[in-house]
Structure formats: C-alpha cells, structure tokens
C-alpha cells in the first residue's frame, strides 16, 4: 500500500493525487503516452530529458539561422511535417539511385540477355514464393529496429540511405512481366496476355503506343515502382508493403500510367522515341519559314516538304531537333490545344459551344457608328413570336397548376356546418 496513485504509461507510482496530476501534465508523460499508442515501451525520465536536450540543441542551431518569430510559431505539427518532408526527400533520392542502378542492371541484362536469361527469373520466383516469410521477417526487423530508431538522427545521410536501401532490397518483391501488377498472384502465359488483362480489368493503358520503343522496360519500371518502392504509380502514395500499395491502387483505381503533366511525361520518356513526330513538326515549321520568305503558296506544299524530309531527317541529330522545337508551337491553354501546324483543337467538354452556329457579331465601320451615334429615333421592341410562345406556355402551366391545387385543397374542406375541429380547441 505504498502508493495508490500510479501512471501506467510511464510505470511509476505516486504518493498523492496531486503528484499524479502534476505528472500527467508533463511532457514526458505525453511522450510516453504516444509511445504507448505506437506500442513502444516507455522511457525513463532521464532518457527523455537527454533526448529533449539533444533535440533542442539542434533546434537552436537551426533557429539561429532563421528569424525568431518563426521559432515561436513553429508548432509540433510543423515540426512533424518537416520531418516527414525530409524523410520523403531522402526516400526520393534513394528511389532515384535505385532506379539508376536498376536501369544499369537492365541494360547489362539486355546485353547479356541471350546468354544469361534463365537463372534470374528463378531467383525472382523463389523470392515471390517466400513473400509471406519476408513480410514476417520485416515485422521482426522493425521490432528490432525500434530501439535503434532513437539514434537515427545521429547517423549520416549516406549511412541512412544505405540502410534504407538494404531494408528495401530485403523487402523487395519482384513482379514478373507475366504477372499482373495489381492482382496478387495472377500469372499469365505470356507478357501480351498479361497486358491485355491489365488493360481490360484495371484500365492499365499505355499512352502513345505508336512511339513506344521499350514496352517491357516500361512495365518493368512500373513493377519496380510497385514492388520495390511500394509506391502507387499514379499518386506516389507510399505504402508500407506491397499488398498495401496494391490495395490502395485497386481501391482508388490508380492503375493507369499518368501522362498529363510535363514531369510525368519526362519520367517515362526514356521508353519512348518521338523522333518521327519531330520530323513532321520540323518540316512544318521550316515550311512556314519558307512560306513567309517566298510568298509562294503553291510551291512549298509538294516540293519543299519532300526535300526537307529527306535532307533534314538525315542531317540533324536527335538532340538538335529536341532543342529546335519551339515551345509556342505546341501548348495547351486549358481550352484549346495548339498544334505546331497552327490548328487549334478544342476540348471535348466544350463541344456544345463549338457546335453552335452563331451569327457573327456585327462590327460597325466608322461611318455606321457615326450614324448610329447620331440617331435619336426610338424604336418599339420587335414582337418576338418565340418569346411570346414561351410566355404563353408559362401562363398555361400556371393556370393548370392553380386548378390542380384548388382541386386538391378542396378535398380537405370540411362541409359540415357545425363541425368542431378537435385540433383547434
């Protein structure tokens, strides 16, 4: 009976209720509460204090650079957000590194594809079989890692990257080109049928197939994104594990390759080859230049375009052509797509406006304007037949409605002369 008052989260006891209450208000207690929520063991007060000290030192160093106002306004939320951002950046870097290495690997693999194709898939298969085992291991690892977590900040970036990489590689799940990216354990006899399945059931549409050169590479990249990085391919949602990401993608229907913004296009641009389309625009632009120079409309269409195609396609390199394409020739202003040829394509959503066949607005010449400005005649508004018909219809419906209302209302009229309404007593 030494103490009745305890704190379960911090596992200490108190003599008086006052002490307990005071303890409940401390930061330490709160921290432990959070740890408890995160299923972590409680830490002693000394450990907490040392931790706080080290953190505050860092903060002080950072804040000396910043203004003092910011320091005061910096809430915990902000801190957490910043931490998250930093972590995200790290992850991104890691991903980029991984991607590079993967690409190198792929390149090497492609080179030696003919010789060594057999052993690798086998390895992959073994991994996929042991998927569940690895997941369990992962959890164990995490439990082991947790105590170390405290010291994470002290490690250098490179070390951290290495460690993360290691973790990732450990938990990596390789997805075969014949396996569906989104379903768990759905394998098809060949790559094409797999693609068809993904397109039909998940809507996995590959944009601009005409210019696609490395279809397998693209799918492989996507599978890595999912299997290795556990990242959603559309919104870059970071899942904890492969099943989590898959569940996310299926639930949100994030099963397509994003191809809207410039960055998204650049991300997968290495699997494409647009040089053939550049040639067209190249000739088009050069034609425009010629046209302005010569003022000879009939000639350039058939004669020069052929020549340009022949010569320039050979002479200029790809890099040059990329540089040569001016920005203004192809851009999207949200409503219209301006093609390099000068044609404007309207968006489908505005179709009904484009369909309208409106009378062009009359533009007055100066003479007409003067006459109209000097005019003092007043005119009665013209009798508009259509408007009148509309009004008539409104009247008719009004009449009908009124009659109907009256009829309905009359049903409830009480015709008994000496009736007493009980409700009104």
């Amino acid at each position: 009976m030494s103490a009745i008052y305890t704190c379960n989260s911090c596992s200490i006891a108190f003599q008086t209720s006052q002490n307990q209450r005071d303890h409940m208000k401390t930061e330490w207690h709160r921290y432990n509460l959070k740890r408890r929520v995160a299923q972590l063991p409680a830490i002693s007060e000394q450990v907490f204090n040392s931790k706080v000290n080290s953190l505050s030192k860092d903060e002080v160093q950072e804040d000396q650079k910043k203004k003092k106002d910011d320091k005061r306004q910096m809430t915990k939320k902000d801190l957490r957000r910043k931490e998250k951002e930093a972590l995200l950046e790290k992850k991104k870097k890691l991903l980029a590194l991984a991607k590079e290495s993967m690409l190198k690997n792929i390149a090497l693999q492609q080179n030696s594809n003919s010789e060594m194709s057999a052993p690798k898939p086998e390895a992959v298969e073994t991994v996929s079989e042991n998927e569940t085992v690895t997941a369990e291991k992962e959890q164990n690892n995490k439990a082991q890692v947790i105590p170390e977590h405290v010291h994470e900040e002290e490690l250098t970036e490179e070390e951290l990257a290495e460690r993360l990489m290691k973790q990732k590689l450990e938990s990596q799940v390789e997805i075969n080109p014949e396996t569906c990216l989104f379903c768990t354990n759905k394998t098809f006899p060949d790559f094409e049928s797999n693609l068809e399945h993904m397109f039909k059931t998940h809507g996995f549409y590959i944009p601009e197939q005409k210019f696609l050169t490395d279809k397998k590479g693209l799918v492989k990249y996507m599978s890595e994104k999912i299997g290795l990085g556990n990242v959603c391919i559309v919104c870059n949602y970071q899942g904890r594990s492969l099943p989590a990401v898959r569940a996310h993608m299926l639930a949100k229907r994030h099963c397509k390759i994003p191809y809207e913004s410039e960055n998204e296009r650049l991300e997968i641009s290495e699997f494409y080859d647009f040089t053939s389309s550049y040639q067209d625009s190249k000739t088009a632009t050069s034609n425009v230049h010629e046209n302005t120079g010569n003022d000879n409309e009939d000639d350039w269409e058939d004669v020069s375009s052929d020549e340009e195609n022949g010569t320039e396609g050979v002479a200029t390199e790809e890099g040059d052509q990329e540089d040569d394409i001016p920005e203004e020739y192809l851009y999207n202003d949200g409503v219209q797509l301006h093609l390099p040829t000068g044609v404007k394509i309207g968006h489908r959503s505005l179709q009904r406006y484009f369909k309208q066949n409106l009378k062009p607005e009359k533009e007055l010449t100066e003479g007409q304007g003067t006459l109209v400005a000097a005019e003092t005649r007043t005119f009665l508004p013209a009798f508009d037949k259509k408007q009148y018909q509309v009004r008539q219809r409104v009247w008719q419906t009004e009449n009908k409605d009124k009659k109907r209302e009256d009829k309905r209302a009359a049903k409830f009229v009480n015709n008994q002369p000496y009736y007493r309404d009980q409700l009104l007593q």
């Binding site: 209302e405 009256d406 209302a409 009359a410 409830f412 009229v413 009480n414 309404d421």
Partner: protein
C-alpha cells in the same frame, strides 16, 4: 378553398397575399403622406393647388402621383378615368364657364355703378374680361380663324412683296458656255 383555420390552408398564398397587401397599404400611406411629391421648391411642384387625379388625366397633365421620377414626367400612369367621370368633368367645366360669365356681368354692373368713383383699374379689368370672353367664344373655331387669316392674306393685293422692275433688270453670265 380551405378556410383560414384549416390545417391544410395554403400558407404560401395567404402569406404572399398578406405581404402584398401590407406593402400596398404602406405605399398608400406614404403616398397619402405626400412622400412621393416633389419638393415644394421644385419647378414642377404643384403644391398649394387643388389636386385631382381625374382632372389631371382629363387635361392630360402629368400625374401628380407618378411625378417622382423626372424622366417619366407625364408618361405612363395606372390611373384611369371612366367615361362617366369624364362626362361629369366636361359638364362641370361648362357650368363653371357659365358661372364665370355671370359673375363677369355682375362685376361689370357693379363697376359701372362704381365708375363715378376713381376706379380706373376696375374699368381695365372689365375690358380685359370682355376680350377674354370674346376669345373664349372664338376658341372653338380656331381653325376657322386661321383660314380666315389666310384668306385675307391671299386676297390682300398689297402684300405682294418687293418685286422691282425698273426696266434695267438683272443680267448674269455672258455669250459663252461656262
């Protein structure tokens, strides 16, 4: 229709109607209080004069009640004049005219009686009145007056203008083709 106390009474219509009536009453009150009238200092103000909407309409004057908007002076009005009322006004005007003539005659007689005294203005007044009566008599046949005047000037040989023929005449140009 359901009664006002019925449970199913059409609330909306009654509410709307009562609101309209309320507004109309307010507007009527404001109008009667003279809030819509022009300022007494305004040019078109008719304050102090007898006010009758019917007479205004009859004479085609601007309606005193709708004159608050300067741009619509003498324009549209929702007041109407019945045929009967118009006939009444017409008859009254006739009587008023007769009454005035009578008083004129009386005044003339009185003035005659007073003429021995120094009433110079009175005499003038009577003369003016006389002219007025004549004019009012002739007012009906305004057109015939104009016709008369035109006939006079047509037949008047003297107002032939100032054509002058001294024999010398006017010569312009010369024996060539310009």
């Amino acid at each position: 229709m359901p009664s006002k106390n019925s449970i199913n009474r059409p609330k909306l219509t009654t509410n709307v109607r009562s609101k309209q009536q309320k507004l109309a009453r307010k507007r009527d009150q404001r109008e009667r209080a003279g809030h819509f009238n022009q300022a007494r200092s305004a040019d078109g103000s008719r304050s102090g004069e007898a006010k009758s909407v019917a007479l205004d309409i009859y004479f085609g004057k601007e309606d005193s009640t709708t004159s608050r908007d300067q741009s619509h002076r003498g324009g549209l009005t929702n007041k109407t004049l019945s045929k009967k009322r118009a006939q009444k006004i017409e008859r009254n005007l006739k009587y008023a005219q007769q009454r005035r003539l009578l008083t004129d005659v009386q005044a003339g007689l009185e003035n005659k009686a007073d003429d021995d005294e120094m009433n110079v203005d009175g005499g003038n007044k009577a003369l003016l009145r006389k002219q007025e009566i004549e004019q009012s008599k002739n007012k009906k046949n305004n057109m015939s007056l104009i016709r008369e005047a035109l006939w006079n000037s047509i037949e008047d040989a003297q107002s032939q203008g100032l054509t002058l023929a001294t024999g010398q005449g006017t010569t312009l140009g010369g024996p060539f083709f310009p």
